[in-house]
């Protein structure tokens, strides 16, 4: 595993009884890369992601995340990754500042450091005046931005985004991707699952999962070339057509 590979897997597999949710997936992700993880519902994306986040123990295969083994060093992995799910997940009955303080706190960041960082963050987000407002009162776009900022507040090596832009309008989505690019420029690796094919085009590289296998893995440009497709949409349909599993 070279210095610049932050996620590395070799035939990583998860079985639930007879059902093989992810089947011998092998790939690696480089530092600072925006890696798109695509697939229809039920293709095994979430299972793969859970194994990489240290939430689920693989059935077989190997995997390293942020330099730590997915079997033995799940706790170390957790300290070095950030996570944001499709569900908007901050506490609505806490204020903006309280949410930041709480999530900073459970990652064990010192109080002074939290203070310094959150002042900077609120300035960046333009939320200085809203810092004592309950998060529930913020518009969705702002919540989303805040959620992402909170996910990378502890300065992780990798941030996992599980369909982060579900149910958000195109303008907000565009802004959200600006944030992702900024994080990537800061050297944070972004691992993102999405259903939106236009978003797939924003990624440096993408992998396509079908029925638990990785069917394709390359840059968007190369994939389009290989499948003689005009857009990622077509690539996706071409690959997903053979899927046996129906969405969940």
């Amino acid at each position: 595993m070279s210095e610049d590979v932050v996620i590395w897997t070799n035939k990583l597999t998860k079985r639930f009884g007879d059902f093989v949710a992810t089947n011998e997936i092998t790939f690696d992700v480089n530092r600072g890369e925006i890696f798109g993880f695509l697939g229809a519902n039920g293709a095994g994306k979430t299972t793969a992601m859970r194994m990489l986040c240290g939430l689920s123990v693989p059935s077989s295969g190997e995997g390293m995340v942020a330099g730590f083994d997915v079997y033995k060093q799940a706790e170390r992995i957790k300290k070095n990754i950030g996570y944001m799910s499709q569900k908007f997940s901050l506490y609505e009955d806490l204020t903006v500042a309280e949410n930041i303080r709480f999530f900073g706190g459970i990652y064990g960041i010192a109080r002074k450091e939290i203070k310094a960082r959150s002042t900077k963050l609120l300035k960046q987000l333009g939320l200085e005046e809203q810092k004592d407002q309950l998060v529930g009162a913020l518009p969705l776009g702002w919540k989303q931005k805040l959620a992402f900022s909170v996910a990378i507040f502890h300065d992780p090596q990798i941030v996992f985004l599980d369909e982060p832009t579900g149910g958000v309008d195109p303008v907000t989505r565009r802004q959200f991707w600006d944030q992702i690019y900024a994080a990537s420029d800061d050297g944070i690796t972004v691992f993102v699952t999405t259903h939106y094919m236009d978003e797939a085009e924003y990624c440096n590289r993408i992998s396509m999962m079908v029925d638990g296998y990785i069917k394709a893995l390359d840059t968007p440009t190369n994939l389009k070339k290989a499948y003689k497709a005009a857009s990622m949409d077509e690539v996706f349909f071409e690959l997903a057509r053979g899927a046996k599993r129906k969405g969940d």
């Binding site: 986040c53 240290g54 939430l55 944001m84 569900k87 997940s89 990652y107 064990g108």
Partner: protein
Amino acid sequence: MRCFLNWPEGRKERGTDMKQLFTFVKKEFKHVMRDRKTLLLLFGLPIVQIVLFGFALTNEIKDARLIIVDYAKDDATQQITEKFRTNSSFNIEESILGAVEIEEAFKRGTVKIALIFPHNFEQELIHEGSAQVQLIADATDPNTATTLVNHANSIIRDYQQALSTNKPAKSILIDTRNIYNPELRGTTNFVPGVMALVLLLICVLMTSVSIVKEKENGTMEILLVSPFNPFMVILAKAVPYFLLSIVNFSVILFLSIFLLDMPLNGSILLLFAASLLLILTALSLGLLISNSTASQQAAMLISLMGMLLPTMMFTGFLFPLENMPTPLQVIANVVPSKWYYIIVKDVMIKGLGFSAVWKEMLILFGMTSFLLIISIKKFKTRLT
């Protein structure tokens, strides 16, 4: 590798865990304090219930255990005993016991009422025209006591009338003693019940809902992905409700002693210890419910159906357990509040010590351990 600057390998700051836990508990308190409606409900509920349950209910009694202590052993006492024997309300146990043994039997709760004939009962009745008997009733449950005493009274009066029909009038003087609760106050009966009910309600309902809320909002996922220990999540969730329950318990206790004149004859420490035990039982039950449900509604429904109803029915403060059919009496044994109710009555009213209630405390402790083990096991499997 800039991140390793923040997280030096192998070096974990001492007390980080505690700090994280503290951060979490603080957050939980904010959730509780900001939910004004629930908070109002939590503190309003016990007061309302204490007032509501003030209206005592009447009960019908069957097969109440009666001790007959017959010092006279003459025809008259035999006849009266026979009358009691044929009555379905009583289950007679004849014995020659001393005052100490009678009291022991009452404290064990094996006997509800005692009828005592003095020496020379018949002779006094015939020669002097009047004799005395003594009725002693366990009035911790005042409804039962009143009903039993009235019933016993009427049986003795019947005998007296039959005796007096064609002879000079004879009178039997009945000396009634209601022990433990001489004024027959209903308070003594329902306050321990309300205590059990409120403690269970807050702990089970609130804990399970607050954990399930995290699942529903998706914040649980974030917490599980964080380095924060999942068991700490549970612990942090339990702390505010634990403290809240203690405050609530103190309020109920204060109200019942100073407003309702409830006696506190035993040790207050023992009472608190038993209450803490019940709170723990309830918290672990809440934990189990939250691990088995996915939505707040489901958690609430299970808590209410699974807790509120059995607690009301099987604790013994609304419906005397002795009157229930055997299967229901068996079911009542798995309801934690039944045992708590016995402890509270023994400690507050009878003034008994640990040696009298250790069995009930042990049962509660066993229930708590059992529930905790299951829910921790369930929690673990959820993570993999």
